[in-house]
Point group: C2
Chain length 280, copies 2
């Protein structure tokens, strides 16, 4: 069974409490072997991603978008470093979405997202995304209820358009427990090398844990489409989270059935020209 099948969120209402954040589904490995297995995915991941990158040379419109969502400390940064870090950076565009600027707030919530959509051949990665606009947006009431309602459909329309335009979308929710978050926040407070990752606001958001989970459940249910499905990644185990997303990336790229593009020039003629030249 592929991990894409294993971690695919089923259609219908979502109850996040029924998913064990500390599990490691579909992977017969422990921490040490898990890290090893991830490292061993590297060469295949690079080859597949390079084929994707090469395919733009034959006007193939395909590209990939990995969306990373999760509560604070769920490990979006860790996935960027350990999993996305495995592929060739020339073909990767990471966008880390922060609180919108004044200019961004003056526009539709998808305006800044649209600008970050990957070009053909690229692996785009969203570290947080338009989903914040129905997560913190909902919990903190940053927009009127009718506007929040409107956004679920707007997101589906947007993602459908991307898919039709050649974008393969992989949306991952990094699912952690509040206990694990407490441990990680404490680790940030105890290590001067991690203070910069901490903000007192993180603890304020933590107080709203249940409301965030509810907002996630609604968002996951309403935007879990065929063209942009959600994957629920148990993320209390960092090694599992990194490995699982590496495997999801690999399987998704593999299903594209990419091959090296055919040359658009006469190979034999170019060889002849090159062999005859006397530049030295």
């Amino acid at each position: 069974m592929s991990l894409l099948d294993e971690l695919r969120l089923p259609a219908g209402p979502v109850d996040l409490r029924t998913y064990d954040t500390n599990s490691a589904p579909g992977v017969g490995a422990d921490k040490e072997t898990g890290k090893q297995v991830l490292a061993e995915l590297g060469p295949t991941l690079i080859e597949l991603q390079t084929k994707l990158f090469a395919s733009k040379e034959s006007d193939d419109p395909r590209r990939m978008l990995l969306v990373l969502q999760g509560m604070d400390t769920s490990g979006k940064g860790g996935v960027l470093k350990h999993t996305v870090g495995l592929v060739d950076p020339v073909g990767v565009k990471i966008t880390s979405f922060k609180a919108p600027t004044e200019e961004e707030r003056a526009q539709d919530f998808l305006w800044r997202i649209e600008k970050a959509v990957p070009e053909p051949g690229y692996l785009g990665v969203f570290d947080r995304s338009h989903y914040e606009d129905v997560l913190i947006g909902r919990v903190r009431e940053l927009a009127a209820p009718a506007e929040i309602e409107r956004r679920y459909d707007a997101i589906n329309d947007f993602e459908k358009r991307l898919a039709e335009d050649g974008t393969v979308i992989l949306k991952c929710m990094l699912h952690i427990s509040p206990k694990e978050q407490k441990k990680r926040l404490l680790a940030r407070l105890e290590d001067p090398a991690k203070h910069w990752k901490y903000s007192p606001g993180d603890l304020d958001e933590r107080q709203l844990w249940d409301r965030y989970q509810e907002a996630y459940e609604i968002a996951l249910e309403r935007t879990n489409t065929e063209y942009a499905p959600w994957y629920l990644v148990p993320s209390d185990k960092k090694w599992y989270r990194n490995l699982a997303i590496g495997e999801l990336l690999l399987e998704t790229l593999d299903r594209l059935g990419l091959d090296w593009p055919a040359p658009r020039f006469d190979v034999a003629e170019e060889k002849r020209r090159l062999e005859e030249d006397t530049i030295s």
Copy 2:
């Protein structure tokens, strides 16, 4: 002796033929140990780069810009994959400059460059750069001679402004021999997995080798400033090129004397708040 000192291009006129493209200065290693040494730089590189990335949290304006220039096949892509690929991709912004679009050609040559300058905390990497505008620009006479002349000073003014704004600039010329280029072009033609990297135009440019070398010599001499110095990296040996640029990056980051930023919150108070909370 540091590699920054070893590879620093001396001030004054440049004769590229006096630099051995197949040498490996400042590194007592062969191919196998060289690859090993590069891999071992990884953790230190990541720590230094993460400190740079963290420093923006304390409003430190510093950022870094690595400029990669060199003839076709000199290995800009290899450096991105093997050297830049060692650091945490969240803090890296790579821009690959192609032939300018019509919109870009309607503006000053630095217009598109300016938009790609890294923000504080980031390592920006230019895969080709504004130097193309005095290289192919000069050789192919894409602009009038007076305009080409103007550009050297414009580049210096631009780079000076970046440096004053907190950008540490590391400019590397990947120096290869025409013989090595021939070998690499042939390898691209012989491997279907590399056809996408080849364009018949590469061979047309190759016919102008001497004029390109001359254009490089002029550009190197005229833009080799204290605030944005040039480093000449012998690049016939791929392993040396990757290792040397890794070492140059590391030494440059190290000289910034970065430390983890001081927290802007009361650590003890945050710990107390966290330990007292009962979210579960």
